[in-house]
């Protein structure tokens, strides 16, 4: 037995030495390759949303698998890593990407992991484009992080404004402790709602992986709010909704972009009716031709693969998929503009880039690296699907890093 183990050990060592030698030799082939890292969660609490975003990126890659640099055709290789919705895993996932010399990175769903990874991208001087991470901290103080969506201060005031329009005067906020997205957005909503003359009657927090919200919901029930604003993960949503209804809470439940996911409705069933969310994109919005083409093509892409369909929960087009697609296109455009595989050159190109054909609207970046976007879509759950309700534009509310 001892010998067996020793031999095993020796084999592993030999294997290891071979493995050390190998990474450099893979690219010996003739064709030129540029690597784009995909830094998304496909497991963990944000795995569902992360996968939808990943689908958008994969679809983009299917449409545009090559890019021309200096007159030469480069194959784009997607290097996908799973950050498991976990900041610790995120660090090692980023290490994996950087070790493979990616030129630019797309990701991630979930602001927390993006913030955690930002430092590493910044150090390695590799630009990253977040499709849907809305927390200001993601790009703040980081020259290499960009994003193609709007920010939480904006989203928070959109929802506050919407709540007021609906006649709410008392609101309760539920946020997830330690989740930058949830806590940030909740905070921005809270401020905007109070500035607008509303009253925050409860501000409750829960822990990651908590599945029993009855205690905090009981507290909320006692103060009788008109609306409950509960930005949180997809997995938390159905539990919150159902337990609230079970306790006899009838207030309107509202949340941010993460909740626009069919699985929430599937899991919460009839109790999800009336839930309102703000989001980046509406698949039935016919004003934008790019969006129309994208929706058609993407549905086809989804229907071609059984796994995609089940994980996406049908062939609805999630906003994060659209953003994932946009982020990919922006990355490709930036590579073209930079006319180089060098990551710093690509970053410089991103700073000045104006991408008109975005399916979520035209994309350009401000000095923080945030997309200049000023419109959000409000959707409501009706008859088991998300129905478009209205768009909200907050005039002149420049997305700025809060401090």
């Amino acid at each position: 037995m001892k010998k067996f183990i020793s031999v095993f050990l020796a084999l592993i060592m030999v294997f290891g030495v071979v493995a050390i030698g190998s990474p450099a030799t893979v690219e010996a082939a003739d064709e030129k390759v540029i690597k784009i890292g995909v830094f998304e969660p496909v497991t963990g609490e944000n795995g569902g949303g992360g996968f939808q975003e990943l689908l958008g990126i994969r679809y983009g890659h299917e449409l545009f698998p090559t890019v021309e640099i200096d007159g030469e055709e480069y194959q784009i290789e997607l290097i996908e890593v799973d950050n498991k919705s976990d900041r610790t895993e995120a660090a090692s996932a980023v290490q994996t990407l950087l070790a493979q010399n990616v030129s630019v990175v797309i990701g991630s769903y979930g602001s927390g992991v993006s913030i955690a990874a930002g430092e590493l991208f910044n150090d390695a001087q590799v630009p990253a484009i977040a499709p849907s991470a809305t927390n200001p901290q993601v790009t703040f103080d980081n020259d290499f992080y960009f994003r193609v969506c709007f920010l939480d201060p904006f989203q928070g005031s959109v929802m506050a404004q919407f709540a007021k329009e609906e006649g709410a005067t008392k609101a309760a906020v539920i946020t997830q402790l330690g989740d930058d997205y949830s806590a940030g957005l909740g905070n921005f909503f809270l401020r905007a709602f109070e500035e607008g003359g509303g009253e925050i009657v409860a501000n409750e927090q829960f822990q990651t992986n908590q599945t029993d919200f009855k205690a905090i919901l009981t507290n909320i029930k006692a103060v009788e709010p008109d609306v409950i604003f509960a930005p949180s993960s997809i997995t938390t949503a159905p539990l919150l909704i159902k337990q609230a209804r079970e306790l006899g809470i009838e207030a309107t439940i509202m949340a941010g972009d993460t909740w626009e996911n069919q699985s929430i409705i599937d899991n919460a069933g009839a109790e999800a009716e009336g839930v309102c969310v703000s989001t980046f994109f509406d698949e039935n919005d016919t004003d934008n031709p790019a969006a129309k083409d994208f929706v058609e093509g993407f549905k086809e892409f989804l229907n071609a693969e059984e796994e995609y369909l089940t994980k996406n929960g049908g062939d609805g087009v999630a906003a994060v998929s659209a953003l994932g697609y946009d982020a990919y296109c922006v990355a490709v455009e930036a590579i073209k503009a930079a006319n180089s595989t060098d990551s710093v050159a690509i970053r410089d190109a991103l700073v000045d880039l104006v991408y008109e054909d975005g399916v979520t609207g035209s994309i350009s970046f401000d000095e923080n690296g945030d997309a200049n976007k000023d419109m959000a879509y409000i959707k409501i759950v009706e008859d088991g699907t998300f129905k478009f309700l209205k768009t909200v534009t907050v005039g002149g509310d420049e997305a700025e890093a809060d401090d």
Partner: protein, 293 residues
């Protein structure tokens, strides 16, 4: 806090405590006999959650429940046979590492088989009906859990008091070696303990997850540790003790969260453990044992 809110919190706490109590019994019985923290018990509980998801996808609930209980028992026995029986004579540390390893294995297996994404727990319609008593509103399962727990515990106590195998269990937990010399079939008693523990874990899992509606591979981890603490609190080896411990922890946890200290809800349990071990290592209902030199 109004009276209604208070009652509502109590209800939540008692219901949670009931589920904890059922799991804690599994710990306390195994520890009583094998002097082993069955770390894998928490994961058997978690696995029972997944079994229910699969059973309910094709079977009605009243068939699913017995099926899940049986499959869970099988899993419990498999764990015992694979991880504990071969190490009966091994040093304590090896057995403990084996228990931890088994827990680690079951978790990773669950991640592999069912992915780390949370799965929605099926709704057992009759259990989810909403009840309203005055301003207090909850689903049937919330009311049912503590009642069912008490009933099961009373039955279990009778079983241990009156049947031959129950007597054997008591004998083994009092003195392992002597019982062995007296001709008690130790392995049989241990198997029986695991059967009861796993069955209760399965029932606890149905009650717990019906109330919480989602299962992940890590769902068992924290409840498991808390239930072990409940068992220690009540006095390891003592079934009524485990029940008291379970209820105590369930209720205090709920109120901690209600008062806004959700960060400390887990930490509180462990603090309780350390305090108990220092002040009264035998727990509330346990007995003192002197070690021989």
């Amino acid at each position: 806090m109004t009276f209604t809110t208070f009652i509502q919190h109590c209800l939540t706490g008692i219901s949670l405590g009931g589920a904890y109590a059922l799991i804690a019994i599994g710990y306390t019985m195994v520890y009583g006999i094998l002097l082993l923290i069955n770390f894998a018990h928490a994961d058997i509980f978690m696995m029972a959650g997944y079994f229910m998801i699969f059973a309910m996808s094709s079977l009605p609930w009243f068939i699913s429940i017995p099926v899940v209980i049986i499959v869970t028992i099988a899993l419990g026995l498999a764990v015992e046979g694979a991880a504990y029986r071969p190490l009966r004579m091994a040093p304590r540390m090896s057995i403990m590492i084996s228990a931890i390893g088994m827990s680690y294995l079951l978790q990773n297996l669950a991640i592999y088989l069912f992915s780390a994404l949370p799965r929605a727990y099926p709704t057992i319609e009759p259990l989810k009906q909403n009840f309203k008593i005055g301003e207090v509103s909850a689903s049937l399962v919330t009311f049912l859990t503590p009642v069912l727990t008490i009933v099961l515990v009373v039955l279990l106590m009778q079983l241990i008091k009156r049947t031959k195998i129950g007597m054997a269990m008591r004998a083994v937990s009092r003195d392992y070696d002597t019982s062995k010399l007296m001709g008690i079939k130790i392995n049989r008693v241990i198997r029986f303990t695991f059967i009861i523990g796993s069955a209760l874990a399965a029932i606890g899992s149905i009650l717990y997850f019906t109330d919480r509606m989602s299962v992940t591979p890590f769902s068992g981890l924290m409840p498991g540790l808390k239930c072990f603490v409940a068992a220690v609190l009540g006095g390891i080896g003592s079934i009524p003790g485990a029940v008291i411990g379970g209820f105590f922890i369930g209720i205090s946890e709920t109120f901690l969260i209600a008062f806004g200290y959700s960060t400390f809800s887990d930490a509180f349990t462990f603090l309780l453990l350390i305090v108990i071990l220092v002040i009264r290592p035998t727990g509330l209902l346990g007995e003192t044992i002197t070690e021989k030199v």
